[in-house]
Symmetry: C2
Subunit: 310 residues, 2 copies
């Protein structure tokens, strides 16, 4: 998603494209207008006009930096949904647990997975296993519901910047496995995960994993560093040769870095009128290109905008 970059670029490009679009004949051959052909999902003008209060700074205490040889992946953690997992993962990170561990599995239209492949690396004062946090009470949870039907859940929407679902009857809410979501691998026992091995969704949503794994956050910058990795040729995308492993240089909690070393990101608050208008604009795509606005939008088809702090 890499929304910060995407939005920035789309904004930067808009003037040029709009001018080009206005000048172009309706019958200009397709290639000339190829850049119009698949507009970004993000209505940029709406976001450009949003008040500063519609954005919030990512909390550095709940932000992870995964440093790969290719660059930094930024993960916004979700303590509202997985408090024990988030605390454990931060503890692991602060002990340098992930440093030097590999991305060992990249499955096409699936997940990238990294962490301890041996199950034996010392977790120090952290825990190797943490009780599952698949869902939580939905009452008192901020939730911006989408009006459209979802295949999998009674209701879907957004909570504190994360795509989520809820079942009001049973008072349960949970995060959903959209593109960029990060979860904890586990064995067959529901309580056998702990965050020592994590995955990110790099393809279509894997909603069948909802409530089967503990989701701990979302990649808010750097997705291409994961999504464009070579796919593993082993079962489920495992790299058959360790020489293909991508070594994690470090995983750090942002607040442990001096401010100058942090990536200053803001996320569009999902409980604001701006966000509601943004969702509405995605549901009802207009402009010269769209001919049949869907009038609907899926929970995983709403990129939650992220930008560099101005």
């Amino acid at each position: 998603m890499r929304n910060a970059l995407r939005i920035g670029l789309v904004l930067a490009a808009l003037a040029a494209f709009t001018a080009q679009g206005q000048a172009a004949d309706e019958n200009t051959p397709p290639a000339v207008q190829a850049l119009h052909a698949h507009p970004a999902r993000t209505p940029p003008s709406l976001l450009a006009g949003a008040p500063a209060s519609a954005w919030r700074t990512l909390d550095p205490h709940d932000t992870l930096y995964v440093t790969l040889p290719q660059g930094r992946v930024v993960i916004a953690l979700a303590p509202q949904f997985a408090p024990r997992y988030v605390a454990n993962i931060k503890k692991l990170a602060r002990q340098g647990f992930f440093n030097g561990l590999p991305i060992f599995r990249v499955q096409d239209d699936g997940v990238a997975e990294w962490g301890d492949t041996t199950g034996r690396k010392s977790v120090g004062t952290a825990r190797r296993m943490v009780p599952a946090e698949f869902a939580r009470p939905s009452r008192h949870l901020p939730f911006t519901a989408l009006p459209d039907p979802d295949t999998y859940a009674p209701q879907v929407g957004f909570s504190d910047g994360f795509p989520a679902a809820r079942d009001p009857v049973f008072d349960r809410a949970w995060l959903v496995n959209c593109y960029g979501m990060v979860g904890a691998a586990r064995g067959n026992n529901v309580d056998s995960g702990g965050g020592t091995t994590l995955y990110a969704i790099i393809g279509g949503p894997q909603r069948d994993l909802d409530r089967n794994t503990t989701l701990v956050g979302r990649v808010v910058q750097g997705m291409p560093l994961l999504s464009s990795l070579p796919r593993g040729k082993g079962p489920l995308g495992v790299y058959m040769n360790r020489s293909h492993w991508v070594r994690i240089e470090s995983v750090q909690v942002a607040s442990d870095l001096p401010a100058a070393k942090r990536t200053p990101l803001e996320i569009l608050r999902t409980d604001t009128p701006t966000f509601t208008r943004y969702v509405q604009a995605l549901r009802d795509r207009r402009g010269p290109w769209f001919k049949v606005p869907a009038g609907r939008v899926g929970v995983c088809a709403v990129p939650i905008p992220v930008r560099r702090a101005p």
Copy 2:
């Protein structure tokens, strides 16, 4: 999706994993069982037991080979849905139109797009523009409907091996923009596409494009060659530097190659009891790992199985 490979490998790996799974303690730390943590979406045993009649050979007359420096991408064309576009694209291919043209745009969680960036390359006896084929009559169209609600369409399912939607009231059916689907770029005019520039979905479904582009087929092998390409840093994923372009060596119609040079693939027929059982198995994931079977499945979450011909 690269189902052929995926399924083959999963089958090959099953014995090992099953044995390992049975031997593993329920409380074995997660990394040891990491391979169980995100099972492939494909219930392999079901497919292994399918009768030969449940599979059909890809029709070489409606199969394209896109040869990249990295290998071959195989596209199953959909003349049932886009007869004029498919005919035009085959004509373009047979004239060598695509040979040497670039993949010029790779947008993260979006599309890869290739073709004529100038709009001026000679189309010979083919056409530069073809009237849109966004939808077709749904009556008399084979359609295996999914029982679960869809966000975007009144009904979704599968037709002749493609993910599709239909609206029985208005007698319309159309292909949907799931992972791996291939469509024709166009300008603002609905009839300004023609297949000289094509895109493939390399991230989450882009259902807002449904009925806004003419979908012409689906990548049935070689998706990783597209999905793992570096993302373009320009607007909408355009490669800012032509040195990043991936040059297409050739696009050929499979039937124009001698049999020995073809990729012998079979696709699971979507109008068979095997396919229905397969969908049901995806809806109701069981086994030692899944704790909360979704009981539902989305049209874009059903990988349509493809295998090498036995």
